[in-house]
Homo-oligomer: 248 residues x 2
DNA sequence: CAGTGGTCTAGACCACATC
DNA sequence: ATGTGGTCTAGACCACTGG
């Protein structure tokens, strides 16, 4: 059986929360209740509720029952790193076009982000992303050389580079670091996104890496204002968010 | 002793990573090594490394040693919810001025975010934030009525509302949900931040709640482009980030 | 005060990586 | 084949919440 006990329990609790059976502000059963009901040890139950806490669905304090914080669904990691999967998960139609793919030496920033020796070759890609036919994002990505050939071979309207890499060589993104800021549209941005120069864009720069920590890509994605919102939830015990000044 | 075993181990490992003693891409000692070295059980060691994994510092795959992913420090939850603590942590001087504080009925959105009955009273605040004397952020916050009196009593240049609430009534933020997007500066934004109307701003809307899940405030913070960057790290096992279309 | 979550132990078996 | 992390058990004591 591929079944994992604590994920079963977590899924059942998640379902109860998302369906509204457990209202926001309501209390979860105690750990011992859950352990008895599922014939599992307390450790396993704690692993299940820790999963939900990491998703921001529930909170806890020593001595008091766990409480439901929200009942909205979250998106998976795959949806986060893949524009196509994200769009489809929301019922939108994702489009994509490679505008250029060229090999060139990495810039200093790209080399640093991809943990490459300065001047190593990367595959630089310019790509336009559409949502229901409308252009919403311009993507400028540098791929590490060990995936470059595979990316070059993809069709110009390839739905998802990350999906194709997974199906092809089995390369899967496992970690990501994302930098979010705002900037004014440059002339190329403006032309491709059909907005005026200087209009606000939301920029998401991110590096994706394999489970072993090997960087795959470093990307600069610029969204038309109003087209997307990023959402982050955190707590005093688990802090996935950071804020910085200036560039970087 | 107020010492917690797994936090001690986590702190030691974190120190080793941040100092560079364990290089990026390097492998951590095995769980049994660490357990022996610290005279702790394997469960305790796993709790320690789980802490670092949640901070995005290390990654793991079944069967292989854990690897170091990065060695940059993260900011605490407190720094995330508090402009003042964040600025001071970076060595900048944070300034602040209340421009207005008025009680009025909650808008539909505010009532929903703060889990209030429609039309309940809130304290609406307009506040300008400075970094080293320069205006960088405009904050429009709705405080729940049960903290309104306390916020009204604070001086106009109060450094940190959240710190003051903690010291005063012991109200501490424990959970947060943040929405990040870009938008064009309105006329009030432009005047206060000394930028042109229509220039790009990074908007962070967020709700803060107590450990019990009781909402404290709902805020719309707008940063001058280039003044701040938000950073998020995630992995296939822990996904704190979500992306959405349109408003909300 | 009883109940609850937070911490910790000392085992066990399995799936997967690495050599 | 050996080592490693992933999962699970069945206990234990403590700190804190709540009525």
């Amino acid at each position: 059986m591929g079944t994992v006990r604590y994920l079963e329990i977590a899924a059942a609790l998640r379902e109860a929360i998302l369906s509204g059976a457990l209202p926001v502000g309501g209390r979860l059963p105690s750990e011992s209740d859950l352990a008895a009901r599922w014939s599992a040890s307390r450790g396993t139950v704690r692993q299940a509720v820790a999963t939900l806490a990491a998703e921001g669905l529930i909170g806890s304090r020593q001595g008091a029952r766990r409480v439901v914080l929200r009942h909205e669904r979250r998106h998976s990691f795959a949806e986060l790193n893949s524009f196509a999967q994200w769009a489809e998960g929301l019922g939108h139609e994702a489009g994509s076009r490679f505008l250029s793919r060229t090999r060139r030496p990495a810039t200093a920033e790209e080399a640093a982000r991809l943990a490459l020796a300065p001047g190593s070759a990367v595959l630089a890609v310019l790509r336009l992303r559409l949502l229901d036919g409308e252009p919403v994002m311009v993507e400028r990505t540098a791929y590490a050389d060990w995936v470059a050939a595979e990316v070059e071979a993809m069709p110009v309207d390839c739905r998802s580079v990350m999906d194709s890499l997974a199906e092809g060589s089995g390369t899967v993104a496992h970690h990501g670091e994302h930098l979010l800021d705002a900037l004014a549209a440059g002339s190329e941005d403006a032309r491709l996104l059909r907005v005026r120069r200087g209009s606000p864009l939301l920029r998401q720069r991110h590096v994706s890496a394999t489970a072993a920590g090997r960087p795959i890509e470093w990307s600069d994605d610029r969204y038309r204002a109003g087209s997307v919102t990023f959402s982050v939830s955190n707590s005093a015990v688990a802090t996935p968010l950071e804020r910085r000044t200036g560039d970087r």
